[in-house]
Amino acid sequence: MQQTETGLEPESVASPVESVARDEAIIQVDDLNKWFGDFHVLKSLNLDVRKGERIVICGPSGSGKSTFIRCINHLEAHQRGRITVDGVELNEDVKNIEAIRREVGMVFQHFNLFPHLSVLENCLLAPIWVRKTPRNEAIETGMHYLERVRIPDQAHKYPGQLSGGQQQRVAIARALCMQPKIMLFDEPTSALDPEMIKEVLDVMVELAGSGMTMLCVTHEMGFAKTVADRVIFMDGGEIVETAAPGDFFTNPQQPRTREFLEQILQH
């Protein structure tokens, strides 16, 4: 943890100042471009995320929003541009990538819990093997976060025995056990039955209240309205519009954004 704090300093000096919050930015994305073969998925994305900021990314499917946040912890490699996370620039160096992944938690659409391990073991794995936390301490942290997502009683079950909503809450706890500085959510409620969405959103709202830096790809506009500091609308691999949720929902500037909002808010 100390290493990353020291890592912040040189970067903040070196980067050109373009936004007010540049020196506070925990994630800096400059001119990010990515191709899948010949297909240009991400086109010159720029984004600065302040520490503690909560950003919701929305847009039609195929707009590149998932690919975008997956670039931030290098699950997808980008071909042009710069991503700097917590003072460390992402490149092909495995050490760098792993250092960033330690500080960035991720929650997936399909939970991706490890089915051969119990819920608690899922939470212990990374702290013990990556952070080298002593097992007892890791258990304590693990139970703490399982309590925060309100399923300490399921700790010794296997993921296959839990409901979708419970599994996703375990996935959130698993990511939090690494005590990350940033949390990425990739459509965390899209694979859930309607009655389970709320229990997951409740946990996420609570997490937002605790000051965690969050980037969340979601179609839950209610969640965006209540917790987001900024809403980003993506289409065709570009950031079309960025605004505070108040402005975004009541007064969208771009016709494409209006069209999208009409589509999803109609019913």
């Binding site: 495995v94 997936f108 991706n112 490890f114 089915p115 051969h116 794995l125 093997w129 990556v130 296959g160």
Partner: protein, 366 residues
């Protein structure tokens, strides 16, 4: 007014219960099933009654020699008299306590795996089985250390040799196979290329050819004075051959693991080897337990091919005694004995793999 009295339960009619019902449902449900039942029943009786009569009722189990045998029954005296040779080959009789001790240690590590013992005990015995046991077996059987007289491998034989070949082969082929499977899915072209070539080469050559090459050709290429033990050469050949098969079995498992598992492990910051060790392999190997058991069982039986390079494994030992003029007409007994021994071990492995599968079930479908 009479109040309602519940009727007592009555047994179903005779045709609907017990073995009669079972017979009707399973054997005589239609006219053609009835015909099949009768035909197969006749065949079973006409085959197995004489067989049991020959193998047990008329058979002679103990005696001094071929004269003790009954011409109408099996002559198990042959197996009894030559058992020492079948188990140890030419291993000196005065040192047979050494392989016996190894057998005991082997039983100590294997038998508890089938008993309802605590997992930790079984785990430690299994770990002993794959680490301490081979070492102990080497020092005890080969000798030459700790004041034990050395016994050259040319005198090893019988069931002991079969078990050594199979055990070492399995123990070495599984890890090599796993590494090859991982290598074949590597993103590094050189490593992937090497693994593909290795697997495709060893898989495409018959084991018999490999054993011939190892025993006849290899010494021709080695400089003068450099010799490898024949048994060691056979072991290396078997191991490389089986590891290629094992690699493809394991690769099947690796491919069955959803991408999300890899991604979740990566996102937590786990390095490549940790991801494989903690997340991917435990799941992949569990999926391919039936395939691994299959390969292991076929490896066990393939060890009999060492016969052609002059090693006397169980089959070789039995076969060589069949030409003994003191015993005539004991071919069936000899081969049945070999078949029985192989069946016991292979069936044991099969049961163990079933047990493992059940034990590792966590109720998750990917």
């Amino acid at each position: 007014m009479a109040t309602h009295q519940p009727l007592p339960d009555q047994p179903p009619p005779i045709s609907q219960r017990g073995w009669l019902r079972w017979l009707r449902e399973h054997l005589f449900s239609t006219w053609y099933n009835s015909v099949l039942t009768v035909v197969i029943g006749y065949w079973l009786i006409s085959t197995f009654v004489p067989l049991i009569n020959w193998a047990f009722i008329q058979a002679v189990f103990t005696g001094d020699g071929a004269d003790a045998c009954n011409p109408d029954g099996a002559c198990w005296v042959f197996v009894e008299q030559r058992l020492g040779f079948f188990i140890y080959g030419f291993y000196p009789a005065e040192f047979r306590w050494r392989p016996n001790l190894v057998f005991a240690l082997f039983a100590l590590s294997v038998v508890p795996q089938f008993l309802p013992l605590p997992t930790t005990i079984r785990k430690w015995l299994a770990i002993f089985g794959i680490t301490g046991l081979p070492l102990a077996a080497y020092f005890l059987i080969a000798g030459g250390h700790f004041g034990l007289e050395s016994v050259p491998t040319s005198r090893w034989g019988g069931l002991m040799l079969t078990l050594i070949l199979a055990y070492v082969g399995i123990l070495a082929a599984l890890p090599i196979g796993i590494l090859l499977a991982l290598g074949r899915r590597s993103e590094m072209p050189v490593i992937r290329g090497i693994c593909v070539v290795f697997i495709e080469f060893w898989r495409a050559v018959p084991l018999i050819t490999i054993l011939f090459m190892a025993s006849v050709m290899l010494p021709l290429f080695l400089p003068d004075g450099v010799t490898f033990d024949k048994l060691l050469r056979a072991l290396v050949g078997i191991t490389l051959f089986q590891s290629a098969y094992m690699a493809e079995v394991v690769r099947g498992g690796l491919q069955a693991i959803p991408r999300g598992q890899y991604e979740a492990a990566e996102a937590l910051g786990l390095g490549y080897w940790r991801r494989m060790q903690l997340i991917i392999l435990p799941q992949a190997l569990k999926i391919v337990i039936p395939g691994i058991a299959n390969t292991v069982i076929s490896l066990f039986k393939d060890t009999t091919l060492v016969l052609i390079i002059g090693l006397f494994d169980l089959l070789g030992a039995v076969k060589s005694t069949l030409s003994d003029p003191a015993w005539s007409n004991v071919m069936a007994e000899g081969y049945l004995f070999v078949a029985f021994c192989f069946w016991v071990f292979c069936f044991g492995m099969s049961r163990y793999s079933h047990r493992l599968e059940k034990q590792l079930e966590t109720g998750h479908r990917n």
